[in-house]
Structure formats: C-alpha cells, structure tokens
Symmetry: none
Subunit: 201 residues, 4 copies
DNA sequence: TATGAATGAGGGTTCATTCAT
DNA sequence: CATGAATGAACCCTCATTCAT
C-alpha cells in the first residue's frame, strides 16, 4: 500500500473512530459533522472527501461493529470444544448477549440501526480475516457439520436473531421485563425448540 | 365540557393528526414544528401550549396508535367465536399482522418507536372505552379463561410481542427474508410451541 | 376607599412586588411579563390593565425604592440628636451607604436605573407620610436650620449624591478599588470639604 | 500578516463598527445580531465566528472607545505645555468632558457601561501605540513628575473619574441640574481640593 | 489533497399583545 | 374587570455545505 493510500486509510479511520465515539455518547442526531471532525483533529471540509453525510458513516459503523461482535463469538466458539450443533448456536447467542451486556452503548447503537437486510447483505459476507471463512460460510458449515437436515435454515437464523436482538434490547438497556439472567432461562429453551422444529426427521 | 375545553381538545387533535401524517410521510427528523403547525393551520407558538417538543408528540402518538391496533384486534376477537386460548392468541397476532401489513407506514412508525416499557406501562393500561376492560385486564382474563396454568405469563407475552414485532418489521417493510405468508407459516407453529412450553402441567 | 378600589390597589401591589423580586433576581431583560404575572398569581392580560410595559413598572419601582431608602435615613436622622448641618448630611450618607451595603441587589437595581432627573423630580417630591415633609422640604429645612448661607444648594446635593452613588456602586458590588470602610475614610473628608466650599462666609 | 488574517481583521472591524453605530443609535437591547450583520453586509452566522454574543461586542467596544477618549486627552496634554500636576489633571478632565460633550451618543454608551473594574483592568493597560506608554504608566509618571507625594493615588483617580463620569452623564445628556459650563465652575474647584487633600505634606 | 472561513437557510423557542369569553 | 388561549413576528443559534487558498 502506497504512503498516500496509507495516509487516507488513517484519516478515514480517524473519522469513523471519532464518529462512533460521538454517536454512542450523544446519539446520531445530536452529533454534527463539525463535532466529528473536531474530535478527529481534521478540517471540516475533509469529511466530504471520505463520506457523503453522517448517515453513510453510521451505516458503515453498524456493519463493522456488528460484524466484529459476531466474529468474536465465532472465534470463541472455534477455540471451545463444543460439538453439538444446538450447543454451538446457543454458545454463539450467549457469547453475543454477554458482549452486548458488557457494552450497553454498543448494544443501543447496533440494535437501533440493524435490520435483517443489513445483516444479511453486509455482515454475513464481510471478510474479517483472509484465512477465515466469512459469517455466511461459517454458519453454513455449522449446518453441514450438524449431521442433520434443516428445512429453511435462513428462516431459522432470521428468527433467532430477531428474537435475541429485540428481547436483549429491552432487557439489557431497560431491565424490562426482567434481568438478563432471567431472560436467558426462558430464551434458551425456546431457541432449542425452534431449532428442533426446523429439523427434518 | 366547556366551549374552551372543547376547543382545546380540537386543537390538540389537529396538532397530533398533522404530526402523525408528517411523521409517517417524511420521518420525525425531517419534520419540523413549523411543518406540523402549518399543516394543522395553527400558529407556530401554539404548539408549545400543548407539547414540549416533537418527541413528546411522537410518544403520545406511538401509544395511541399502538393501542388502537391492539384494540381493533381485541374487538375482532370478541366478535369471533374462537374458544381455545392458543387460538385466541394466534387470532390476535394474525389480526395485528394483517393490520400492519395493510398500513406499512403505521408499522414503520410503531415498530421503530415502540419499546416493551412503553407497551407495558402505557398501552396495557390505556382505557379505550368506558365499558370495556383495558388491554391488561383483557389479557389476564384470557389466561384465566384458558383453564390452564401458565408460569410467568408476562414473559410469554413479552417474547411473543418482540418476536412478532421484529420479524414483521423486516418482512412487511422489506420482504426480507420472505413474504408475510411464508413468515406466518414458520412463526405460528413457534408461537404455539412457546405457549405450550410456558404451560404448567 | 371602596372595596373595588381596595382590590385594585392590592392587585397593583402584587404586580409590583412580583416584578421587583424578579428584576433584582434575574434582571429586567430576563424578566418577562408572563414571569411577573405568574409570580403575582394573576392572569397575563391583567398586567395591561395596570401598566403599559415592564419599563413603566421599573420606573415606578426605582422611584419607590429609592424614596424608601432616603426616607429611612431621614427618619433615623430625626430620631438621632445630631445637631450640626455637616454632621447631618454625613449621617444621611452613612445611613444610606449602610442600607445599600446590606442589600446589594437593591443597590444594583437603584444605582443602574437612577438618574438625577428621576431623583430630582420624583423622589424629592414624593410624599411618604401625610404628617411628614417630603424630601425636598426636608433638605431645604436642613439648609435653613444650619445657620449658614450656601450658594447653589442644589448643585451641592447633586454632587454629593452622584459621588456617593457612583463610588458606592463600584465599591459595594465589586469591592473595587477598595472595601466600603476604606471608601468611607476617603469619601467623608471630601464631602466635608465640598460642603464647606459651598458655604458663603 | 497573511491575506486570510488581514481579511479576518477587516471582518471583525466591520462587525464592531456596525454594532457600535447601532448600539448608540437604538440601544443595545433593541439591536439584534441580524441587524448588526445586515449593516455589516455579512452573513448572520459569521457573527459567531468572532463573538459569543452582542454583550461581548459591547464590552469590547466600551473598552476600545473609552481608551480612545482617554488617549486623545493624553496626546493633547503631551502636546500642550502644561507643567503643574494639578493643571495637568484638570486639563485631562476638561479635554475628556469636551470630547463627550461633542459626542453625546458616545457619552451615553460609555457612561452606561463603564465600571471602575473595566477601566482599571482593561483601559489602563491597553496599548494604544507601540512607542507610547499605556494609561497606567502615563498616570504614574504624572504622579512621579509632580514633585509631591500622594497617599493612595488610585483612590484619588477613582474618585475623580466617578465624580466626573456621573455628573457629566446627567449634565451633558439631560442638562440637569445645570449646563456643562456651570458644572465645570463647581466641579473643578472640588477636584483641586480633592487632589490637595490627598497630598502628603 | 486538505483546509477552515464564510454562508444563509432553517431550526427551536420566547414573548408582548390581543380578544373572545 | 379579569382571564388565559392564541397569535406570529422576531429572536438566537446551528449546521451542512461550499470554495478560495
């Protein structure tokens, strides 16, 4: 990578880092481009050389941050010796819930701005590491290694993600209607049921 | 009601009607108070006699509109002759999904702004009609009439609502990952399972 | 006084009391008519039945409050047994300075808004008590009882008042350039000199 | 100075000139930032690149204008051949009174907004000219060259300034209680007395 | 490329004043 | 007389965006 390109990458990183920090702190509406660039220690006009507006930055960040969360869970799973398909899925869910519980501002940011469309198109195909499969391939391989047949695996994943995401939002941010531990007690059996009901016998 | 009070009620109605129409058309961010009051044919300053800011209007509207949707489903259920508890819940879900499918802008508005906290505290206790039980009492009576015992009925309702709401949002607005009919085919069996798994034998 | 008139007097009193309290607390600019009437527990529209605008209230209050300060000093002098003209003037000055030092907000209010014109035309002629001479007559009588002749007594009073008022403002409110006690040490000899230099031998 | 900096200096000048003209014409309360910028032929938003609010402009202008008045008197004194200390002080007072009499709007502006604190901290230390002493050094040198000892020279200056400023305000603006010439006849002897009474024999 | 001064439209909000009740 | 809801002009201030340097 040329020196010029390297410099540009650094600048872009400075802008997104600054933006992320402000977005989760004050919210997107209350964050101005001037704010972002001041924190990034760059001139206001420079913003427009990299992004069209702050919503482009937001979308970029939602994708990146959500993918990072998933990737961490994936790596943890790979380093564990969980063998069963059902256990693997629950391992991933649990790891993600714990991550979000440890970083509530990140949860708010992702949860408010993440749709299945973004998840499906951006995150599942994001290449985090050259030598590693992307999320889609990874999940596909989970299904394959399960030794079982599942009808409509995408729908299964979709439902699990939506249920986890929406209940987590309420429970972690507002502790409503219960605390996280209590949610898990009800949630995990249901996820197991969901998986089994998608199994083809 | 005095003439003055009647007039105030009318004005408040004009403001919220105008605001709702603009919120679902252009979104809340893009709607200014000037916009709202112009459409309502009232002076800008009048807004502040009724609301603190547009977010107070939004919250008011989310509560009201969501309660209306639920109330319609409730009335339809009462007029039907569905007898089984499980069928009743699915009747309600189905009715609500159909309503939202018929009014996608309303779905976007409610879905984006509705939290369990609001639902729990505002909608469940909203009195829609003098002679009719509110949502909370209504749901309670459903459980009672079921002839069965359920552990943690609130958690059950919470999970159903979150799952329905979040999957509906994606499916109805973006047809992702599937169309509504297909979602129902997967969703309803899962809801049945959820209900049964909360049943105390 | 009729019941109606009595009622009107009460309302006017409530308005001016409320206004005074707000003027010295937040300043005149930051005080709105709505503020005044809210604190007075009267309707906004009622204000205009009594005053044209808040500046009319201010002028009314400056006159009244300044006259009260002077009157207190005058009464104290009458109850003392100071005999010498020069001593009497210094007694008045000292009493007034002490009053203002004890009520700095009052000082700020009076000092900022009092001009010689107002003092001359309003305060000197204000009748505080039916059986008592007004300020002008009182001062005149001081000159007469002095046993001495003074050229241009008005100019003498004018200069003393302006010097006292302007130095007091800086010293009492900002302690600049010195504290009040130190000011008095320099000020009183100068006032004595001023009086003597207006004496006709 | 760079072209950009030169331009900024010009803009700031245009803003303060415009503001001064409006402040003395209509008063500060009645002058809006929109007014100032329209007269300055600049965009409204530009104001905030230079000042926080109009009160910051006012303070800036009070200092600058008062310093200019004093500086003019100082230069005139230096060009005269007045030798005596007492005469020098009176020369300065007289020169300043004449300047203010010639520009009544300026007098109103300065007199209403000038406090001893501002005078002491801002004006006395303002550098009007590279090769010339500031006001403080200048007055100090007057005391030193006088050949006499004065106790508390600051207090002496403070009292003279307050007396001159407050009487001038009333006399020049409202001709009350007398005209300027008449005031001078009473004022100057008193100032002479004040100076002598601060002299250490 | 990068800068940051300048723009001016447009936002929220306040408030003196009116007037039907 | 007294009320207070309604008005809408006018205010301050922010901010995305441009563009000369």
């Amino acid at each position: 990578m040329s020196k010029v390109d390297e410099n540009k990458r650094k600048k872009k990183g400075a802008i997104t880092d600054s933006a992320f920090s402000l977005f989760i702190q004050k919210g997107i509406n209350a964050t101005s481009i001037a704010d972002i660039m001041q924190k990034a220690q760059l001139a206001k006009g420079t913003f427009y050389l990299y992004f069209k507006d702050k919503y482009e930055v937001r979308d970029y960040l939602v994708r990146k941050k959500a993918a990072q969360v998933f990737d961490k869970a994936k790596i943890a799973l790979e380093q564990s010796n969980v063998k069963e398909f059902e256990e693997k899925i629950l391992f991933l869910v649990d790891h993600i819930l714990n991550q979000l519980n440890d970083n509530k501002l990140l949860l708010r940011f992702i949860s408010k701005n993440l749709s299945w469309g973004i998840f499906r198109n951006a995150i599942m195909n994001m290449q985090m590491d050259e030598n590693s499969p992307n999320a889609e391939e990874f999940i596909e391989s989970l299904f394959e290694e399960s030794g079982k047949q599942y009808r409509d695996s995408e729908m299964l994943i979709f439902m699990i993600i939506e249920l986890v995401n929406s209940t987590a939002h309420s429970v972690i941010l507002y502790k409503q209607p219960v605390e996280l531990d209590e949610l898990k007690e009800s949630l995990y059996p249901i996820i197991r049921q969901m998986i089994r009901s998608f199994e083809i016998e």
